[in-house]
């Protein structure tokens, strides 16, 4: 005799056993997937209460429902409205948050740091409300530094692609004037597949600008030697590299016997 109560009870028991059994089985799977996520640098910062306070309630809900990318994009657009209102500090805070939400996005680190180190810094330097030049220069420095710091966090999060290394190198070169550091970062950038050819050349240029002529000469010669075919690398502009090598040989007074034979090199652009 099967009463309804026992039938229902059996069904619930079956459901509970299924879910419980699967639950016990899925936990190690989830942990393995999670560990691999960390290893592969997937996902972003865990959403903290402070983050939730920064965004609207709706955005917080969306964040918690698997729409992290869309929320980051939305906040990015909001950050640009602050740009139009010249609300630099709010913009900075929000852009930092966006970068935290999707730390594997090249775009966010890149554009945020560019806004800090170029646009806001430029604006701070030409602030019509601040008559004292020293203060304006100090503010410019501060914003450039904010951009540099942001990019340095960026390369920590995306060390396996050339873009942010190149961006950081460019910033160090153009805004900070630290050419030695710029050369180092160009070298990192050039070591990744897909890096543009100018990254390799920038290493040499920056070393020269840093006054490290010996090192620059060595670098150019190594680059030259690493590509015996001088082909398959469009835009390497070997004629320019040959130019640099010849100029450096003159400046460093390299004996003729040790100079590079650059004859027969055509432009492979």
């Amino acid at each position: 005799m099967t009463s309804i109560a026992s039938r229902r009870w059996r069904a619930w028991l079956a459901a509970a056993l299924l879910l419980g059994g699967w639950g016990a089985f899925k936990l190690p799977l989830e942990r393995a997937l999670g560990a691999e996520q960390v290893r592969l640098r997937y996902g972003g910062a865990r959403v903290t209460p402070e983050m939730r306070d920064l965004v609207s309630q709706g955005a917080a809900m969306a964040l918690l429902s698997g729409f992290r990318g869309a929320v980051a994009d939305y906040l990015w657009v909001v950050a640009h409205t602050y740009w139009e209102q010249r609300e630099w500090f709010r913009m900075h805070r929000l852009m930092e948050l966006v970068c935290l939400l999707q730390p594997r996005s090249v775009l966010f680190w890149d554009m945020s740091s560019w806004h800090m180190a170029w646009n806001i810094a430029h604006d701070a330097r030409n602030d019509p409300d601040e008559p004292r030049l020293a203060k304006r220069l100090w503010a410019e420095r501060k914003w450039i530094d904010a951009g540099r710091q942001l990019l340095q966090r960026g390369v920590e999060n995306i060390p396996d692609r050339y873009e942010l290394w190149a961006r950081l190198a460019w910033l160090l070169d153009q805004r900070v004037g630290d050419h030695a550091a710029a050369a180092e970062n160009w070298r990192r950038a050039a070591s990744f597949p897909g890096a543009p050819a100018y990254a390799s050349r920038q290493v040499g240029y920056q070393l020269e600008m840093a006054g490290k002529l010996d090192e620059a000469y060595r670098y150019w010669r190594e680059l030259w030697a690493a590509h015996p075919q001088k082909s398959g690398e469009p835009f390497m502009l070997w004629d320019r590299i040959a130019d640099r090598i010849r100029q450096l040989e003159d400046r460093l007074q390299i004996p003729p016997g040790q100079r590079l034979d650059t004859s027969g090199v055509r432009d492979h652009r």
Partner: protein, 301 residues
């Protein structure tokens, strides 16, 4: 356990063959939410439907007819007791293979045409595709729906829906047909057709169980009836014996002359009988129902 032999799976093939449906001590209670008690839909019901008969499950609305049919179909399990369909628990799909069901005021997928509806149910019943077209034509003709064959069911009248409902119940040529309120809301002509169809099914050797709250509508088709009231069976039996009243009989007399009634009375008296009334002595089911409800009420005191 009362039915220990059942629990051990010992079944009587003869019984299941002669009685396609058997209910023993069946009760169905619906618990109310928040432990406010329970509603007794059916209580202590015994039923045995015999093969080849037309059985009427009668009673007013809410007397437990539909619940009983649902339990027979395995749609809802009984709280207590045993339901057997062809000797098997009805939850098994195999026991439903030999059964056709027309639900109360049936609705189907409104966007399907009559033929598509039959095709759908035919597939569910495992009617082979090559048989299906032929079977659909037969059924459309059987229930008289030629004009509705290719129209979507959304445009059907109540009577047409009832007809397509009957057709789908018969799509796999089942030996047992359950009809929940087959004539409810159907016009007199439609009702006549449905009753004729039931008689034809009986003639073809099918077993038919029908429920109705309009007692007189089914009088002429049922062999046996059970009347339910508040979930309990208050009467069961062959229609003929139920409708005759005690030791009374109706004599059909030819050459009757009202002026000579006294002579007839005297003749009857000499035979030890009495002429009670001249007229039609048959009771209606309504009368029986009211009488039985009163008696049941009187028993309870």
């Amino acid at each position: 356990m009362v039915h220990r032999d059942r629990a051990q799976g010992i079944r009587d093939p003869v019984m299941s063959d002669t009685h396609p449906i058997r209910l023993r001590g069946v009760a169905k209670h619906f618990p109310l939410h928040w432990r406010r008690g329970r509603v007794i839909a059916v209580e202590n019901l015994d039923l045995e439907i015999r093969r080849g008969e037309v059985f009427g499950l009668l009673g007013p609305n809410g007397s437990g007819k539909s619940t009983t049919l649902k339990m027979i179909l395995g749609l809802t399990p009984p709280t207590r007791g045993e339901v057997e369909l062809f000797g098997e628990p009805p939850a098994r799909p195999d026991s439903r293979r030999r059964l056709g069901f027309l639900p109360e005021s049936p609705y189907f997928y409104r966007f399907l045409s009559g033929a598509e509806t039959l095709r759908f149910f035919g597939r569910l019943c495992g009617v082979p595709n090559r048989r299906l077209d032929e079977r659909i034509d037969e059924l459309i003709a059987l229930v008289g729906l030629a004009h509705g064959r290719d129209r979507p069911l959304a445009t059907y009248s109540k009577g047409m829906l009832q007809r397509i409902g009957l057709a789908q119940a018969l799509v796999h040529d089942p030996e047992l047909v359950l009809l929940d309120e087959p004539t409810a809301g159907v016009d007199p002509m439609g009702s006549r057709d449905i009753k004729d169809l039931i008689l034809r099914l009986k003639a073809a050797g099918k077993t038919v169980v029908l429920s109705s709250h309009l007692l007189e509508q089914v009088e002429e088709v049922c062999d046996r009836v059970a009347i339910l009231h508040l979930g309990r069976k208050i009467v069961e039996g062959p229609l003929d014996s139920l409708l005759s009243s005690g030791d009374r009989a109706t004599l059909e007399v030819s050459g009757y002359d009202a002026a000579r009634t006294d002579a007839i009375r005297a003749a009857l008296a000499s035979a030890g009988a009495q002429l009670v009334a001249v007229g039609r002595p048959r009771l209606t089911l309504e009368e029986i129902f009211v009488r039985e409800v009163r008696r049941a009420g009187g028993d309870k005191g």
